[in-house]
Symmetry: C2
Subunit: 652 residues, 2 copies
Amino acid sequence: MEGECKRRGEGQVEIGVMMEAVHKVEAAPPQSTVDKMKLRFKETFFPDDPFRRFKGQPPRRKWVLGAQYLFPILDWAPNYSLSFFKSDLGISYAKLANLPPIIGLYSSFVPPLVYSVLGSSRDLAVGPVSIASLIMGSMLRQAVNPNTDPFLFLQLAFTATLFAGIFQASLGILRLGFIIDFLSKATLVGFMAGAAIIVSLQQLKNLLGIVHFTKKMAVVPVLSSVFHNTHEKKLKRLLFVQWSWQTVVMGISFLAFLLLARHVSIRRPKLFWLSVGAPLASVIISTLVVFLLKAQNHGISIIGKLKCGLNRPSWDNLLFDSTYLGTTMKTGIVTGIISLTEGIASGRTFASLRGYQVDGNKEMMAIGLMNIVGSCTSCYVTTGAFSRSAVNHNAGCKTAMSNVVMALTVMVTLLFLMPLFAYTPNVVLAAIIIGAVIGLIDVPAAYNIWKLDKVDFLVCMSSFLGVIFISVQQGLAIAVGLSIFRILLQTTRPKTIALGNIPGTNIYRDLHQYQDAKRVPGFLILAVEAPINFANTTYLNERITRWIENENSMEDKETNLQFLILDLSAVPTVDTSGISFLIDLKKSTEKHGLELTLVNPMGEVMEKLQRANEIHDFLGVNSLHLTIAEAVFSLSSQNKLQQQEVSSALFI
Amino acid sequence: MEGECKRRGEGQVEIGVMMEAVHKVEAAPPQSTVDKMKLRFKETFFPDDPFRRFKGQPPRRKWVLGAQYLFPILDWAPNYSLSFFKSDLGISYAKLANLPPIIGLYSSFVPPLVYSVLGSSRDLAVGPVSIASLIMGSMLRQAVNPNTDPFLFLQLAFTATLFAGIFQASLGILRLGFIIDFLSKATLVGFMAGAAIIVSLQQLKNLLGIVHFTKKMAVVPVLSSVFHNTHEKKLKRLLFVQWSWQTVVMGISFLAFLLLARHVSIRRPKLFWLSVGAPLASVIISTLVVFLLKAQNHGISIIGKLKCGLNRPSWDNLLFDSTYLGTTMKTGIVTGIISLTEGIASGRTFASLRGYQVDGNKEMMAIGLMNIVGSCTSCYVTTGAFSRSAVNHNAGCKTAMSNVVMALTVMVTLLFLMPLFAYTPNVVLAAIIIGAVIGLIDVPAAYNIWKLDKVDFLVCMSSFLGVIFISVQQGLAIAVGLSIFRILLQTTRPKTIALGNIPGTNIYRDLHQYQDAKRVPGFLILAVEAPINFANTTYLNERITRWIENENSMEDKETNLQFLILDLSAVPTVDTSGISFLIDLKKSTEKHGLELTLVNPMGEVMEKLQRANEIHDFLGVNSLHLTIAEAVFSLSSQNKLQQQEVSSALFI
């Protein structure tokens, strides 16, 4: 890029000769407090201005637009053509959540139908996803054992799904969607990788055919479960004795097949159907193998009989018992926010690929309602799945109708094909899950983060390590906490930059960044790069004192420091502490024989300076300038002796 | 102030004719990650550069400086002269903390001695303060009843003081002093006023001579205690019957006397000794009155016998029992942070009045050590008190020696004068406390905050109302939470400003603020006023899309929008999400036929752009410019047709 910069340098076009007069700093036209509050409220909660389409439309048109806003199906259904049809059968993640596999199928039936009516993304494929399943399973397992008390566990899962839905819909209705913005990309890269490892380890139970397995999620107990679980009970038996070799062989071969298919389809995007078809093929082949070889009698565990029939209503299974209310609410909120993040991030990714917009808050309402309906129809938490949406996208489906098609396929399966699943071995489901989640470990992304931003990498790694060594929720909490702390630190310790003149111009830039920029004798020109508020006024005070001391000790004795110019171009806001700071700075610099000048205060800052000046009267005639160049010129012209010197330093 | 701006306008000096060529954007000279980390670490934890005095000194001098750094007494003691002596007897706040009054005297003896050796402020008068006493009393009272179990209560108070000291000293040693910066002025104004009301209400018990009184701190139970406490037990008795009229008369008269003295000394600063002497005079007069009239037999409660003698060691009274460990630690941390805030704010205020610097982290260590020593010598939590320091300051004392003098005065009292206090009525102490805390209600400050910044006023009021209606800790927590939320919101919803050219210049400014600034046809020039990071990239995406749509619908059809200039002058940092955002913006604007150009990226931003460009190669030849003017000129010269138009719009 440096090359490019230099290439641009060749142009060396003269911009034009122009005169610069001393311009006055203006305040924005006055605005009432109510108006300002309104504007701020609008920017905070309605940044996408969802009602702009309605402006200036006749009433009848407004009704149509309103209906289309609530039910986007009205928007695209008329344009719908049969060629968009596409079938997609999702992988069941229900086992990850310690739920019966049939719940996974139920959850691939109702929610896609709901989403196809309410959702605004055309690419999003809806269903259970690995991360949310994993979190739900691990959080609920802390309260109830799914093996000894499966029905209670199921009740808690439905209730947590209801809370997730309510939480998601409320975020959308209250327009608090920005909460999910606090899950940064770095956090998610680390989190996904950590979760993928946890998920894969959990599946070792099925992949290796281990019977006794730990209930915990972190890496250490799982690994000790894999290698040592016999150790405790029967010390003398050989290690690994609980593994079933038939299961291991079957698992490893299908996993290899799936990973190969994935690898090929990544290398050759045209063969994407390979990675789509592989899981289904694996299920069919393995089921046939087990059925023909009667392998279930040789140590391979199978799903077993499943009842035919569509989702049963589950609203009478919702449990609001106070013993479990805390657990279900917490689980609902955490899975709700995580699944929202995946759903909305996926929706936005594909929308930007096709050049349309996804309304975040509306998506939240859609996903929330989908989960509320789901919790009453035997579904657990669902969202837009990135991997399946990618399949949809590659297959060229262009409307949310793909969700309807998927739901119909699942319906056919539920009604007629359930008996066929009886012989499907659990080990193949494990292989499918591992094959899917391994794709979530994005090493190149982590490497890019390392190269670009070390603090982000720290966030990424703490989220990764936190998830695998502590717990899913705490790993996430640590990463989010770090990210927020970083933002706060940027405000608490804002940058102050000493500026110098770029010879032959009116431009003032960072002395450190621009090596040919020159100090102006007698002037200290500082730019502050953050809002000035209670959190940083103490720091700024100390920092500026240090700048002045440095300058005084550096300056040759011919020209003493006389002027302090504070460039406020990068100060978007001040609060009352910030104003006090400026007033105190004015006084304390005067004590040191320095004259303080403020340059280019922004609208809000200017307004507050004006109001503060009405009270404290601290701004003198020369205290405000529009540009640094004007400030330097105007101040040095006060001092005739120095003017000559500055002029010669600056303008030649 | 507008007047002043205009007055400046009269000058209309021409700055000089100069040529502007196209300049290249430079990155700062490369720096290793370790160096950058070091620098960031230094700015975060050593912003005051405490070691700069040591640089380039001979080793012997370094030792002397080091000793002076640790024990500032060495710094000023040699300059000490007898004329600085001043005596100050603090008011005992021990009763506010539900502790025996003698503890208040003990706490005015040892801590000032410790501080005079370690502290760096010359004006700070050290001793118990109302707010910390109040908080300690109210927090410990939740665990133990001071009336039924006074010794256990005392033990907890000493232990909490120890924790407060350890916490304060650790903050100083770990250089985490910026934590107290999060208590903004607005928070403190509200908090002080709320606490003053709570304190005054608590003292109504003594002022009105009520025997049965609520244990709670909030306004509602206290007021109902004042008016209705007889109500419950003996419904038929008259209201107010538990009040003792003798006490009421005495209390009201002394309160009136104290408030009058305060009022006079505020009006005439020369009479400051009035407000200093009034409490002492009240104690002496009231004690005499009680003694002579034997008023203790007429319903006036007195302090009673106090033992003579200096502080007894209390390290064997420290209680680390696990039942109370949580309470004492929490109390220690909250009182520690609150008393630090008062101590350091007071120290800084008076230091800036005299033009010297107070080292925040060193002060924390001094105050922390003082409390650790205090907890072992029968003292409870102490800090620098604003009101007493003001007295010191007005009296003209110029070194921390005033603390030694105060300690000596207290010592004499403890050794010889204790029997005299036996007849001091509690009602006078109540009047003194109320008189003192009423000064903390700073209505003009609250009004100024309202005028300057409505959000700050909200913070102030929530802290005030939270303290008086909920609880001291929660009121504070709400206010701090709001302040932090506001900082986060400024990053989450950064300002984007559309800029226009100020005719006849190269200057580009906010179109809204500068009414004569003009749009450049075909250009949308936006400035972002915050770091671009994970918390705001979604918002920025939506906001910029909206700007483009607005612009397209507004623009007259002759000149379509062709260029988007993003001014990064006010973007101090980007993270990986920010970089992805810029890359995506480049792509998505290209899709809309717009060319994106970045102007004036700061050092860190430029560096990350360079590194990202090595990976993604998204910056074209015309993608970076040093100033907006150069970007506009260089871009419009691409398009010959438009150049004429832009030139005529800009330069004439």
